[in-house]
């Protein structure tokens, strides 16, 4: 990532859409209330309709089945749709077409056509939105071959990954953590497009590997800073970037160096991506491992009340103390 002006996460998303729409006429963008003056409920996309017109950018009825199904149909006949399913929690309504049409088309058609399609949604807890506006839908889709799932951790990552997702010829589920929208950080180099399916070392370290994605990455980085400062523990932080495909090689390479791995997920352990990652790492790298464990949420819906929600979601402090408790004695100096 080269130097640049500070970029807000929501603006990074907007810039990626605008740049790709300028680059390729076949990119279209639609969803509920995304074109209206506000530019969606998180004010991510104002001005885009004004810029590209109502044929390429439009509001739809509240119809998740139609939005997703229409995006599929359009994607296999020449357009490259970006759609917004406002909150990830609504993705259950959009699931059928994604898994039974978009995800399978390339294979079933014996490669007659691919399905260039991006589905953006706001995900995650911590915003006091309650149980039905705070979920992260990644795990509902992670087991579906043919889908990619991207989960950026910073403004620069958001821009680079979204540009990649729009250019990608496969259906990409794109997760935007709502507590990142207002984060400002270094902009990427102009035109930068990041690879889908390639994790990155967000912070090198020798004592253990912390793997996460989305909002978990800045939390892990903050925890790593605390651990380095207070406990002289040097944690390596891996940003998965995509949850499908999973860059197992990058994780294995890190674990081969550190021998310890903590996976941090804002979601329950059972059926979560973090447990699955541990499993695949154990399968391939068991003899490199001195310890592996998970930091996840309780096996409960996400609560509304601030006291409950704060205790529910693993943040930097929880990550740091998870490391201290389980590995402090062994790896601390």
């Amino acid at each position: 990532m080269s130097a640049g002006a500070a970029l807000e996460f929501r603006v990074a998303i907007r810039e990626a859409i605008v740049e790709e729409m300028e680059r390729d006429e076949s990119v279209v963008f639609f969803g509920e209330d995304i074109a209206a003056e506000q530019g969606g409920v998180f004010a991510v996309t104002p001005g885009i309709q004004e810029r590209f017109g109502t044929e390429r950018v439009f509001d739809t009825p509240i119809s998740e089945l139609a939005i997703t199904g229409a995006a599929f149909g359009a994607a296999v006949t020449g357009l490259r749709p970006i759609i917004e399913i406002m909150f990830g929690d609504f993705m259950g309504l959009a699931m059928d077409s994604l898994i039974n049409q978009s995800a399978k088309y390339w294979y079933l058609s014996r490669e007659q056509r691919s399905v260039p399609l991006v589905v953006r949604s706001a995900v995650g807890g911590g915003g006091r939105f309650g149980a039905i506006h705070s979920q992260t839908h990644a795990t509902w889709f992670q087991g579906v071959p043919g889908l990619k799932i991207a989960f950026p951790s910073s403004p620069a990552e958001a821009k680079g990954l979204l540009k990649a997702a729009i250019r990608d010829d496969n259906p990409v589920i794109f997760l935007e953590h709502k507590r990142l929208y207002s984060v400002k950080a270094q902009a990427p180099a102009p035109g930068e497009v990041l690879p889908l399916g390639q994790a990155r070392v967000a912070r090198p370290g020798r004592d253990l590997t912390i793997v996460s994605a989305g909002k978990g990455v800045p939390d892990a980085l903050e925890a790593a800073g605390q651990l380095a400062r207070d406990d002289r523990i040097e944690a390596e932080v891996i940003d998965l970037r995509t949850l499908r495909p999973l860059d197992i090689d990058a994780v294995l390479a890190s674990v081969a160096r550190t021998n310890r791995m903590l996976a941090v997920e804002e979601g329950p352990a059972t059926g979560g991506w973090a447990a699955g990652l541990l499993g695949i790492v154990a399968e391939h790298g068991l003899h490199d491992l001195d310890d592996v464990w998970l930091l996840s949420t309780d096996e409960l819906p996400i609560p509304y009340s601030p006291t409950l929600e704060d205790a529910f979601i693993p943040g930097a402090a929880a990550i740091a103390s998870a490391v201290r408790e389980r590995a402090g004695v062994v790896v601390g100096r």
């Binding site: 509920e32 209330d33 209206a36 003056e37 506000q38 409920v41 509001d59 739809t60 009825p61 509240i62 119809s63 998740e64 089945l65 929690d89 609504f90 309504l93 915003g127 006091r128 939105f129 309650g130 149980a131 039905i132 506006h133 309780d298 096996e299 409960l300 819906p301 609560p303 509304y304 009340s305 601030p306 006291t307 409950l308 704060d310 205790a311 529910f312």
Partner: protein
């Protein structure tokens, strides 16, 4: 007694009480806004000020153990169905005395004791919940009501459930609060055909367009629909036309609405309409102010008690994933 007779012969006192309930909802929403700005209400909230006549009129036609499924814009739905304002407000503030202990919040309130199956954060979810409650209600001599917005009528839930309910002749009333906007998008822009009540014809379901700012009109339509449902006549769709005074949610200044339109609707504030009608019916200024005073005091008491309540202590929570 016919429905009309029931409505007409009712004493004005009953309407005065309903006016009090409408006012309670209004005051509740005003407090919600004030408390939101003070940081006491968290996340987001969807106010129903301007729409009070709909839930109050509809619930006035229900027995206490009938079922209601409301929406994320549900404070009025809950209060009209009987949820205590203290418990509702405490829930909004995330307090342990909330009707759901602070777990649910503004969009997901559940109050089974008062027949509030729930407020549903998914557009269309209330339609499905009420349809299901009607399956149970059928054997219980009860009726179920779904509240939902104009935007919800474009959703698969609407179509599938109206068809399902009619095929099974379920005792359910579908109440659309048509406030002419779904979030920032005008209803006519996304609703093909432009006519919500008219959609009922596709299922052979009787429907009517109701002045949703007139408590009397809503009640009349609801009494008829509920009677039909209870007597085995199956579902009804009521399109209650109304207007929200605020934006969609706390973050929305609602600049997309033409000022003349807003003014036109403000001039027909359901509270004003009801007050005028009560006066016509001979209710005195003093009777009115008494009810208003009581209601204000009730709301004040709700605010005090909610603010005094503790936040849930995560360490003390005994939540289990599963029912035993």
């Amino acid at each position: 007694m016919t429905v009309d007779e029931q409505i007409v012969t009712e004493a004005p006192a009953a309407y005065l009480e309903r006016y009090g309930l409408m006012l309670l909802i209004r005051l509740f929403e005003t407090e919600m806004q004030r408390l939101f700005l003070k940081g006491e209400v968290h996340g987001t909230t969807h106010l129903s000020a301007g729409q009070e006549a709909v839930p109050v009129g509809v619930c006035s036609a229900l027995a206490p153990d009938d079922y209601l499924a409301g929406t994320y814009r549900g404070h009025g739905h809950a209060l009209a169905k009987g949820t205590h304002p203290d418990a509702l407000l405490a829930e909004m503030l995330g307090r342990v005395t909330g009707v759901c202990g602070g777990r649910a919040g503004s969009m997901n309130v559940i109050d089974a004791e008062h027949g509030l199956v729930g407020c549903f954060g998914i557009v269309g979810g209330s339609i499905a919940a009420a349809t299901g409650a009607a399956l149970a209600a059928k054997g219980q001599g009860r009726v179920a009501v779904a509240m939902f917005g104009d935007g919800a009528t474009n959703h698969g839930y609407f179509h599938e459930c109206l068809n399902f309910a009619q095929v099974l002749a379920l005792p359910v009333v579908f109440v659309c609060e048509n406030n002419f906007y779904g979030e920032f998008t005008p209803m006519l822009k996304v609703t093909a055909g432009g006519d919500i009540a008219g959609r009922a014809a596709a299922y052979g379901i009787p429907a009517s367009v109701v002045d949703g700012n007139d408590l009397w009109a809503v009640r009349e339509a609801a009494v008829e629909a509920v009677a039909r449902a209870r007597s085995g006549g199956g579902p009804t769709l009521l399109e209650c036309q109304t207007y929200r005074h605020h934006g969609h949610s706390k973050a929305d200044p609602a600049k997309y609405r033409p000022p003349e339109e807003v003014e036109r609707w403000l001039a027909r504030d359901p509270l004003g309409v009801a007050k005028a009608r009560l006066a016509e019916l001979g209710v005195s200024e003093q009777e009115l102010s008494e009810v208003e005073e009581t209601t204000r005091a009730r709301m004040e008491q709700a605010v005090q008690s909610a603010l005094a309540a503790a936040y849930p202590d995560p360490a003390g929570e005994t939540a289990t994933e599963f029912a035993p």
